[in-house]
């Protein structure tokens, strides 16, 4: 029931909005209906400036520079370059096989790139182990979350917080008090977040018994416990029923308003277009174009890529 996190995080959002030329009453991000703001076509000053332009003062939380990866003869990622600014929801779309998941795996360290760099929060994390990249604040979810056997939902949530004292074997015996303290605090946090997500009734259910859609919500909630600088969501609503998808969308929007930065891959166009701004379109492993939902929607190259025209 507590609203603590809103006060601290909302300020970043606001200051960013004032950076734009005038105090536009309807910044696209966080708006209930971004379609209306962007409906007036491109020249409308939005909270999120055009990506690709070299912006010194904007706070770039994730920078992907000239990233390359091939598997044998197949080039999966071909000189991909883009930036993600703090406080945005960046949508990553593209036809099947465009290299979206490969790109996620490269960014989060699950694949090692053949070339190029990934920078998180100003630190070059290229070639680091996934857990090290996570320690720098880049947290990701997976397309198909595997359920944690033998755990309850709140127990599964407790894996989220980073660097818990109780994760050191020696500390368990040298200072059990510290462990108990942090465990209590984390449990309270977990329950608060479950409440905010309106899934607190699941807390003591076995994690294997909840539905796939609920699992996606739990995953998102757990990722928040890791306090991400930037959160990569891999198809958050794939296979999720429409009701839960809506719920996920409103949660992502709520967290975004509180200042969380998202990058998401999603095949559900309506979902992405409604939520994300800017949108990056990938095709054959490289960035085809990027821009506002409407800009992207009306781009002929994007249509070609999706329809398999001879682009």
């Amino acid at each position: 029931m507590s609203e603590q996190p809103e006060s601290t995080t909302a300020t970043t959002e606001r200051s960013e909005a004032t950076d734009s030329e005038n105090d536009d009453p309807g910044p696209a991000a966080g708006d209930d209906n971004p379609g209306s703001a962007a409906g007036n076509d491109d020249p409308v000053p939005t909270a999120t400036p055009q990506v690709g332009a070299v912006e010194g003062k904007e706070d770039v939380v994730l920078r992907v520079d000239d990233l390359q990866k091939s598997f044998g003869g197949l080039t999966a990622t071909d000189h991909a370059t883009f930036e993600v600014e703090r406080g945005t929801i960046t949508g990553l779309i593209g036809p099947n096989g465009a290299g979206k998941s490969t790109l996620f795996n490269l960014i989060s360290g699950f694949y090692e790139p053949d070339g190029g760099t990934v920078t998180v929060n100003g630190t070059d994390v290229t070639g680091m182990e996934p857990y090290e990249i996570a320690e720098h604040g880049l947290i990701r979810t997976f397309q198909t979350p595997r359920k944690l056997e033998g755990m309850t939902v709140r127990e599964a949530m407790l894996v989220g917080p980073r660097n818990q004292p109780g994760e050191s074997f020696l500390t368990l015996f040298t200072s059990p008090g510290t462990v108990a303290e942090s465990e209590s605090a984390n449990l309270a946090d977990a329950e608060r977040i479950l409440e905010e997500f309106e899934i607190d009734h699941l807390a003591t259910q076995p994690a294997t018994d909840i539905s796939g859609g609920q699992m996606k919500l739990v995953e998102l909630a757990r990722a928040m416990l890791a306090q991400p600088e930037v959160l990569l969501l891999d198809e958050p609503v794939a296979g999720v029923n429409p009701t839960l998808a809506k719920k996920l969308k409103s949660q992502i929007r709520r967290l975004h308003e509180q200042g969380t930065t998202f990058v998401l891959i999603e095949h559900d166009m309506e979902f992405v277009m409604d939520l994300a701004d800017p949108i990056i379109v990938l095709d054959q492993g490289s960035v085809l174009t990027e821009g506002t939902p409407d800009g992207v929607r009306s781009d002929d190259r994007v249509i070609d890529a999706y329809l398999g025209g001879g682009a």
Partner: protein, 389 residues
């Protein structure tokens, strides 16, 4: 859960009662009884070790016997009178050597394999088990080869009071059932000391593992067991966690080996036969992977079958010899458990959170029934609609 626990307690109660009856009627010697108990505890210790690898972290270790052997030979080579290396040390020193060597071997085998999928550790440990066994058999100048090492002192030899306790204790004759007195001689006191040593080892191990299991440390391992990538994505150094539990489990197995050396007073390469590994796996799966209590139970059940089947040879009318019957029973048991109770007899608790943390939290500890879930998902639907329309 509770019905299973009751059933298990009843069965264990019956077995204890039967053993007690056998004891008082003289069918079972008191010191042999304690020896059996020591053996069962040793298997329980091995099961706990494997449980901390397979049950906690999903690590497939097929060299249980090898780590057991490292412990046993470490203790034997350091303490025995005819040790080809450096006998005559204090058993405590042997204990430390056994554990340290086991830890080093675990690290050495873990470095190349624990970054890979679970299968690779399985293959590597399969090989390691044979390497260690053949090393002990063939490197005669260090290990006495297949002759084994004799003259291992009891663990308490040289200790102030305990060292000479068995000799100084009087021989007693206890008569409970008239006509069949129970002899409590030097052998008995010696075994009693062994059993108390075992209980100390077992108690310490159980305490450590229980705490580890309920901790965030154990939780990360359970996450790794289900989905290692997820653990990595949440910032957990999965390699380090797996290495820690692998080393921990291997040291517990070596501890069982150290105890065995001082219980049996003789070790040979035959003690490292792969069948030991197999028995321990059976014990862990039977008891319930991930469950410390289950590992204890499994260890005792395996020894009950192993040793109990010896007695069928006393009955001339029984058509099957003890040794094959043993394997038959174990096989049958595994099939039955897999078919009817794949999670094991005493599976781990559903929720493992640092105990004092739960007391402070507001939600009820008991997992709720499905009724509430139904209501919850309706509610979820309503709220989702409210927010978006």
């Amino acid at each position: 859960m509770t019905t299973t626990e009751t059933a298990v307690s009843v069965v264990v109660g019956f077995v204890v009662l039967a053993l007690f009856l056998a004891l008082v009627t003289g069918a079972l010697g008191a010191s042999y009884f304690l020896f059996l108990f020591g053996l069962a505890g040793m298997y329980a210790l091995l099961s706990l070790g494997l449980n901390s690898q397979w049950g906690f972290g999903g690590l497939i270790n097929f060299s249980v016997a090898a780590f057991f052997g490292i412990g046993a030979y470490g203790a034997a080579l350091m303490t025995a009178g005819n040790s080809p290396i450096a006998g005559g040390f204090n058993p405590i020193f042997g204990l430390i050597v056994g554990l340290v060597v086991a830890a080093l071997v675990a690290v050495a085998i873990g470095i190349p394999t624990l970054r890979l999928r679970a299968d690779y550790l399985a293959i590597a440990t399969l090989g390691l088990a044979e390497v260690i066994r053949l090393f002990l058999r063939n490197e005669r100048q260090w290990t006495n080869g297949s002759a084994g090492i004799r003259g291992i002192p009891s663990f308490f030899e040289g200790w102030p009071v305990l060292g000479t306790l068995p000799q100084t204790m009087p021989s007693l004759e206890v008569v409970i059932v008239p006509g069949s007195p129970i002899l409590l001689g030097t052998q008995f006191w010696r075994q009693l000391l062994n059993v108390s040593l075992l209980l100390a080892f077992l108690g310490a191990t159980f305490f450590v593992l229980r705490r580890a299991q309920q901790s965030p440390w154990g939780r990360v391992l359970r996450t790794i067991r289900s989905d290692e990538d997820l653990a990595k994505a949440l910032g957990k150094n999965t390699f380090a966690f797996k290495m820690q539990t692998f080393v921990l489990g291997s040291m517990i197995m070596a501890l069982a080996g150290v105890f065995y050396a001082h219980l049996n007073l003789f070790v040979n390469p035959g003690d490292l036969d792969p069948i030991t590994t197999f028995y321990v796996w059976v014990a862990v799966i039977l008891g319930g992977s991930g469950s410390n209590r289950g590992a204890l139970l499994g260890g005792f059940v395996v020894v009950a079958i192993r040793e109990g089947s010896r007695f069928v040879n006393d009955f001339a009318w029984f058509p099957i010899d003890g040794a094959p019957l043993r394997l038959l029973l174990i096989g049958l048991l595994i099939v039955l458990v897999m078919r009817y109770r794949p999670q094991g007899v005493l599976p781990p608790q559903r929720e493992l959170i640092w105990p004092s943390a739960i007391e402070g939290s507001g939600t009820p500890e008991r997992p709720t029934s499905g009724v509430r879930e139904q209501k919850g998902s309706d509610e979820a639907g309503r709220n989702g609609g409210d927010n978006d329309e």
